[in-house]
Symmetry: C2
Subunit: 316 residues, 2 copies
């Protein structure tokens, strides 16, 4: 990828930006080139035609804002940035085709460590990193774009929930927030809950299964179940009545409700048995029914009590 | 778009991030929704199927790095970030389909001014802003992703130049650097050359024409003609012999050679007459022949003298 040119003409020696880009390409790692595609190195990446709808999203992770810089590594940041972005494709039921990574960083940043995390996530998710960009800035910030496809169409929106639908969850929540709490208290990086914070796993296969099972609405939980479910209900112009919010082993009720960053999926469908069948057919862990959609917009409850909008938002 | 969740559960009131996102959507402006597409507001944007190859790129513009924060506005930054990214699609001969904008900014930044620039560029280029992201950071940084399509395939790479090919340019260069120099010397924002720095025009129609005319290789000039032509020659494993580098009226020879940010296109083709015909048929300004490709990799000359790699690169 080219970068935006600088304001001041300066003499560019070999062994500067162009060289760094080559080292980064190596750090991202040795995927086999996709026949008929051109990835890093040209003005833009060229991909074979997408099948069906194109689905695209961008998410930024900032070192020290989205991940504690004292407790985690740049490799964790790269991994988590890719996983968080990819979760948005999962939430549409899309199949990933390409990742692009735009990094800003101050001089001296270990960009190879950061991109090693990007490469590890991409490899785990089976999706190539096809492009990127590198700029000077005070923060280490990683903007990840993900491009996917929905063969046959029918990407699942937030806005399709209908009164009477059931609300399902891919798995219990709160592990990420619990892992952060444990890490702050001195737990090592390889503590199982800490790993859930460092290396979240987007639910791509579950999202595909839910779309094929005819889910009416879907959303990933990035900012906390309580806040994100309110957003889904807003988009669908309805309310909800939750029976429970299942907490991951080791997570508190608050962490489950408002912790965020678990990247589990909220799935809304008329027919839970179709969802269960689709998950079982793919060998996925059984989804959990947690409540139902109601017609009254203002009705937003957990166990009969009002559920606040509680979760993570930036102040601006 | 969802944002990556925060590390710490915090109570999210209405009137914070979600509200800002709505104001930004208004600032980006009132494009008519594209039938069958879903843009800002869901986990990801959904687009009607692309035609032919998918072409995608990302470019970041940092306030104070890519644009002088004392001399230009946040609206300029938003406009320029979109234009610079879109130029990468022009350089492939692709037709734009979608823009996504990921912004990091400190609290108190006038995000509406920034996104007004994004919206103005998108409207001028006839391409919708389909998604975005907003994060807290110390810098104002704008990462712009552009997605396009090549109906019929044949995106034009940097690597296809062959000995004997002619090198063409869409227009004289150096206006952007000249505009920056003039602005620094006190010229007003609406000085014609200053406008060329603030509001560059990516050569989308010219790129489409060059692809259809069978160009062998193409690249946009973002970091300076001298540096970018070396990159094209590297990718094509060849050398070049330039006759001249035409300077925009008001630009110096150095500004033309190494200034960058003009976003004119370097086009390499066997048959210049096909290129001229394609440009004329579309009512585009006639392209300029500036030299030819030679077989010897080390032969990189301007008027018979060696041409240095001179242009903008970041230090890392």
């Amino acid at each position: 990828m080219t970068r935006p040119g600088g304001s001041t003409p300066t003499r560019g020696a070999d062994g500067r930006e162009d060289d760094v880009l080559q080292r980064i390409a190596r750090a991202i790692g040795g995927r086999t080139p996709v026949p008929g595609e051109v990835h890093i190195g040209d003005d833009a990446a060229v991909l074979r035609p997408l099948v069906g709808q194109a689905v695209i999203s961008v998410d930024t992770a900032v070192w020290g804002v989205h991940l504690d810089a004292d407790l985690f590594t740049l490799t964790d940041l790269g991994y988590k940035a890719v996983a968080a972005a990819m979760s948005d494709l999962a939430a549409m039921g899309a199949r990933p085709r390409a990742i692009l990574v735009a990094v800003t960083a101050p001089a001296g940043t270990d960009l190879e460590a950061l991109h090693a995390g990007v490469g590890a996530a991409a490899a785990q998710l089976g999706c190539p990193v096809v492009g990127g960009d590198l700029s000077r800035g005070r923060d280490v910030a990683v903007a990840v774009t993900v491009l996917g496809e929905c063969p046959g169409g029918g990407a699942v929106l937030r806005s399709g929930a209908r009164p009477g639908d059931e609300i399902w969850l891919t798995a219990p929540v709160g592990a990420s927030a619990a892992g952060l709490r444990r890490r702050r208290a001195g737990a090592p990086s390889d503590d199982p809950l800490v790993i859930r914070h460092r290396r979240p796993q987007p639910r791509l296969l579950e999202g595909l299964a839910a779309r094929e099972a005819g889910a009416h609405a879907m959303m990933d939980i990035s900012d906390g179940l309580a806040l994100d479910l309110h957003r889904l209900a807003d988009a669908s112009a309805c309310g909800f009545a939750l029976d429970e919010i299942p907490a991951s082993p080791g997570a508190t009720a608050v962490e489950a409700r408002a912790g965020g960053e678990d990247y589990e999926l909220l799935m809304v469908c008329a027919d839970g048995s179709a969802l269960q069948t689709a998950f079982a057919a793919r060998g996925l862990a059984a989804p959990l029914r947690i409540g139902r959609i109601v017609a009254e917009h203002e009705h937003r409850t957990l166990g009969g009590q009002p559920l606040d909008r509680e979760g993570f938002q930036h102040d601006f």
